[in-house]
């Protein structure tokens, strides 16, 4: 393992940020409606110089009002999922740990469906009604992850195998519940929910929700990053880490709560986008090594890149129809995972 220097960290992050920037520009350009690269570049430069008045109106509505919010949402969702996945994998010392394996997405889906079902019975203003689904999903995610945490304890200690098994069982139980509830909701909501279950970034967030998403991401990811060096030691095992001076219970609580919040935020606004939290940490670990002080920011960038790319494919492959993002990540993710697995064995 190479010792970490500030220079290495900054270099890695700059490189990844550059890739992310290229992907974002590409995603801004590509879509159902053709946008010329030259016009887009002009507009972006004007945008960067805050000459917003001079932006040519040709693409401004499509690029800046439709694509940009969606891409930013994808960036935050991807980064949240990947950081949560990285920290769960380190905390549970299990390469399979992933927000989705732990049942969080199913819990969020149940919360969202329940919110859709009770929405007509509450006299809410339209603005509040719009917030109900993400809020329901968020609480569904948190309740599930707290339940899995309690189920995963053994003699007052967290046992990573028990926790994973508890997560898998909870997920399959909740999935059965989802199938049941989906039969009870009416046609219009049904179509929406079944799309939501496969991951969907097409609904823009309200401004205030975007604030919540961003602030929540930076706070939770920051909290996880403060434990980066502890996570490195935790890879040796909890006892070993304890002997080396790591306050294991504190790290466990910080990482667990922060990663749950990240997952809850991501799932509540985008539905279930699988494979990002599982695969991106592994890919990043192959490239940058398993030092979490580099791995966590790298995974954040990697997750953002992966989701923005997947969403770009979802928007363009069957244009003008849109495909669910979750289907794209699973289609690309599963073969990649198998490839990595075989390569490692060889």
């Amino acid at each position: 393992m190479q010792p970490l220097t500030l220079r290495r960290l900054v270099l890695r992050c700059t490189a990844l940020a550059g890739v992310l920037f290229v992907v974002v520009v590409l995603a801004l350009k590509l879509g159902a409606v053709q946008v010329s690269l030259y016009g887009l570049a002009q507009d972006l430069i004007r945008f960067a110089l805050h000459q917003t008045k001079e932006i040519s109106s040709n693409y401004s509505l499509i690029v800046f009002d439709i694509r940009l919010p969606r891409i930013l949402l994808g960036v935050f969702v991807g980064a949240s999922l990947a950081v949560a996945g990285t920290s769960f994998q380190a905390l549970l010392r299990n390469p399979l740990a992933d927000p989705y394996v732990l049942g969080v997405s199913s819990g969020a889906a149940v919360g969202a469906i329940l919110a859709v079902m009770i929405a007509p019975h509450l006299a809410l203003s339209p603005d509040a009604a719009v917030l109900l689904t993400p809020v329901g999903a968020f609480f569904g995610a948190l309740v599930t992850i707290a339940g899995v945490y309690l189920l995963g304890q053994r003699d007052g200690e967290i046992d990573s195998t028990t926790l994973l098994l508890a997560g898998i069982i909870t997920a399959s139980f909740l999935n059965a519940l989802i199938m049941l509830l989906l039969n009870l909701i009416s046609g219009r909501d049904h179509g929406g929910m079944s799309f939501w279950l496969m991951g969907d970034l097409s609904t823009p967030l309200q401004d205030n929700l975007q604030w919540v998403m961003r602030a929540g991401f930076f706070l939770a990811a920051g909290a996880i990053y403060t434990t980066a060096s502890d996570l490195n030691l935790l890879l040796a095992g909890e006892k070993e880490a304890l002997h080396l001076g790591v306050d294991v219970p504190r790290v466990r609580i910080v990482v667990y709560v922060a990663a749950s919040i990240l997952t809850g935020l991501a799932v509540s606004v985008s539905g279930a986008i699988g494979y990002v939290g599982l695969l991106v940490p592994h890919v990043m670990r192959m490239i940058f090594g398993s030092d979490h002080r580099i791995l966590i920011p790298a995974a954040a960038f990697g997750g953002a890149i992966a989701v923005v790319l997947a969403d770009m494919l979802a928007r363009t492959v069957a244009a003008p129809s849109e495909l669910p993002v979750g289907a794209m990540t699973a289609l690309a993710g599963a073969p990649l995972f198998i490839y990595l697995l075989r390569r490692r064995m060889a």
């Binding site: 409606v33 509505l61 930013l72 219009r188 609904t203 401004d207 920051g222 490195n232 002080r293």
Partner: protein, 442 residues
């Protein structure tokens, strides 16, 4: 310096073998533990926390700023030039801006605002889901997000104003040539926005999310939500008024009602056939009693054996065998279903149905699945197949309907005499025109 000392190794620290790099599951932690520099400095987490909070505040501010100036203009402002990006749109623009003054008075409009306001007139209407929609007047660019709405727009003679529809809009055939914005569930919002619609029409098959996304872009969305044949007629009248062709709507609905009344005279006093409407054969999905299809069946002199409030119930075949429907109703596109029926007849369960043994199948075009004016033809078609005896003699038909026998409350076909209907039409038109409409000139 503190940071470098605490968190990062110094450059000349012991160089260790890069063992874990490239490993897939990097949990071989003994190589990690040797790096003594991995955990130095207990105060690091405070510094890190402060740093992240600061960074997050900065980034949030930056991103909010990037978002906010976006584009304040509303896409529906008719004066905004060239908002659409695609080349085809440019031509449309030219054509439109050229003909706009001429078209302002073109489609006869029931409301006075249609011709008075010019380019800046707006009209507020309440759609069938109770949302208030603010529409620019006159409505010149319509995007339809459902096949039945596309059909209705064509039936109202507004096809020149229809600038985009979905991939499923296949009737009339010319509708397939319109610009496509994707499917009904998953249309591309940017495609819709690029068409600069004055109004986007949605119905109960579209997602709320699509509606909300368009709302956020200030694109007016008008939703229809008919649940039975009467509501299809009323919905047509109201939609016509909203789109500025009120007279066409009343005429069209009048014709539809006329045909339905004639049909009722022929088959009104006949006993309704007990049928099973097959939406999907395996698994068997039928229609609930609150759907417009169930109502169309009633109008065609039939009653569905499935009585549930669920809209698209999955029905047990056992139950069907017990209830023994007289006819099975299938929808078809281009007679594709014919071989399917033979295969179905051979299956256990299905073959013990009287209707299958007697080949009592009713094939009806998929117009019956669409709450659009064409449903009347589908109803007539079903009636002819269900009650052939009522159609053997000439157009005179059997004597006018005697008072219906009230066997089951919801099986009795409802008839509205033409006179009553005329008042109904006026009512609906009046409701549309007066209390809900406010005109604001800007």
């Amino acid at each position: 310096m503190l940071l470098r000392g605490a968190f990062f190794a110094r450059r000349n620290a012991v160089d260790e073998p890069r063992l874990s790099r490239g490993a897939f599951f990097c949990f071989e932690a003994d190589t990690l533990v040797r790096g003594a520099d991995l955990r130095i400095g207990k105060k690091f987490w405070r510094i890190g926390l402060a740093g992240t909070v600061l960074a997050s505040a900065l980034l949030c501010a930056g991103l909010m700023r990037a978002q906010a100036p976006g584009v304040p203009n509303s896409p529906s402002a008719p004066n905004a030039p060239n908002v659409g990006g695609a080349q085809g749109q440019q031509q449309d623009n030219e054509k439109n801006s050229g003909t706009k003054p001429a078209q302002e008075t073109a489609p006869s409009s029931g409301s006075p605002s249609g011709s008075s306001g010019g380019a800046h007139a707006y009209r507020e209407v309440v759609d069938e889901t109770g949302r208030t929609v603010r529409l620019p007047q006159p409505v010149e660019r319509i995007v339809s997000l459902a096949p039945n709405l596309t059909e209705t727009v064509y039936a109202l003679g507004l096809q020149d104003h229809l600038v985009g529809d979905t991939e499923y809009c296949d009737y009339p055939p010319e509708a397939q040539k319109k610009a496509k914005v994707g499917g009904t569930i998953n249309p591309s919002i940017e495609e819709v926005a690029a068409l600069r619609p004055d109004v986007v029409l949605v119905t109960s098959i579209n997602r709320f999310e699509t509606e909300r996304a368009l709302d956020n872009l200030n694109i007016p969305v008008y939703a229809t939500d008919p649940h039975n044949v009467e509501e299809i007629l009323n919905s047509t009248i109201k939609l016509a008024d909203v789109l500025g062709a009120a007279q066409n709507g009343v005429t069209l609905a009048g014709e539809m009602q006329q045909r339905l009344s004639e049909l009722q005279q022929r088959i009104g006093e006949l006993e309704p056939r007990r049928v099973l409407f097959v939406v999907w054969a395996e698994p068997l999905i039928s229609v609930g009693k609150n759907t417009f299809i169930a109502d169309a069946l009633r109008k065609a002199g039939a009653v569905s054996i499935v009585e549930t409030t669920q809209d698209w119930p999955k029905v047990s075949l056992e139950e069907v065998v017990r209830l023994q429907p007289e006819f099975l109703v299938f929808t078809t596109q281009n007679d594709e279903k014919a071989p399917d029926l033979l295969a179905l007849s051979a299956l256990p369960g299905w073959r013990s149905l009287e209707a299958v043994r007697n080949h009592h199948f009713v094939l009806v075009s998929d117009a019956v699945n669409r709450p659009a004016p064409r449903i009347v033809s589908a109803i007539e078609d079903m009636a002819k197949q269900l009650h052939p005896e009522a159609f053997v003699d000439g157009p005179g038909g059997p004597p006018p309907a005697a008072p219906e026998k009230l066997e089951k409350p919801n099986t009795t076909p409802q008839t509205i005499p033409p006179a009553e209907f005329a008042s109904l039409v006026q009512n609906v038109a009046g409701v549309c025109a007066e209390p809900e409409v406010t005109i604001c000139n800007r």
